[in-house]
Amino acid sequence: MTPGTAVQREERTTPEFAPVVDIYDHGEEIVVVADMPGVSGDGVDIHLDRGTLTLRGKVQPGGDEGRMVYQEFQVGDFVRTFTLTEDIDAGGIAAELKNGVLTLRLPKSAERKPRKIPVKSG
């Protein structure tokens, strides 16, 4: 065994899960709502790079005392990536995390917003 593998085995790897999301369109913005139970506000990382949006929520360690007697969920980080086909105004992205639910508002770029063009009569 090489020393490298020994180091790898000692590292604690946190499993990653895809959070369930609702996505809806408000016309002027796209809203993404993701369930991230166990994640606090400072554990959220949102990354937009050339049309690829990545949501990441890191769970806080702890809460693992005792012996697991019944398990339905595993604790791990939440990661999900989307490809954007709309032009998003990256500077205007707003994120809020409340009670383990991330709400992300992605404003569409001005030229893509549906616009109402007034028609003058006369």
Binding site: Y24, M36, T83
Partner: protein
């Protein structure tokens, strides 16, 4: 037309490579049965009758739970994203813990069209059998970041004891 844009917005990505946290239907035969029982129960009391479940998607919210045991307590973690403490009721009846509540859908805004709905809502009730020897008078619950943690103390007689063995020389 708007909705189509958002659907395309979801294409691709690494999401298919990651496992979902398991949903109620995937948690083994007993949990699935309980989910079905919960639904029948709801249908019965809402007057829809058992047939109604054939016509609804039945995707109601059911929190996932983990149960741990230490020397002096039982610890239950329930995933309740989006809920507030006042949305949840905890009852201990003998050696059974009943967790119930409702996950409400956020208020809908005008002019919105859904591109994807994976999250679920609705009333839920879960009954969990506790190991023998818990003290129903000593229950603590904390709610943090959408995770409810319930701690139930064990009765003195149920705690593991260390018996000192004197060795005669």
């Amino acid at each position: 037309v708007e909705a189509r844009g958002v659907v395309a917005f979801l294409k691709g990505g690494i999401m298919s490579l990651l496992p979902r946290r398991r949903g109620p239907e995937e948690r083994g035969p007993l949990a699935g049965l309980q989910h079905e029982m919960n639904r029948l129960f709801e249908d019965f009391f809402s007057g829809g009758g058992p047939l109604r479940s054939l016509f609804t998607d039945g995707d109601t919210f059911l929190p996932a739970v983990d149960i741990r045991e230490t020397n002096d307590k039982i610890v239950i973690d329930a995933e309740l994203p989006g809920l507030n403490p006042q949305d949840v009721t905890i009852r201990v009846e003998g050696e059974r813990l009943v967790l119930s509540g409702e996950r409400r859908q956020e208020k809908k805004e005008q002019n919105e069209s859904y591109a994807r709905v994976e999250r679920s809502y609705g009333r839920f009730e879960r009954q969990l059998q506790l190991p023998p020897g818990v003290d129903p008078e000593k229950v603590d619950a904390t709610f943090k970041n959408g995770v409810l943690t319930i701690e139930i103390a064990k009765k003195e007689e149920a705690k593991p004891k260390t018996i000192e063995v004197k060795v005669k020389s």
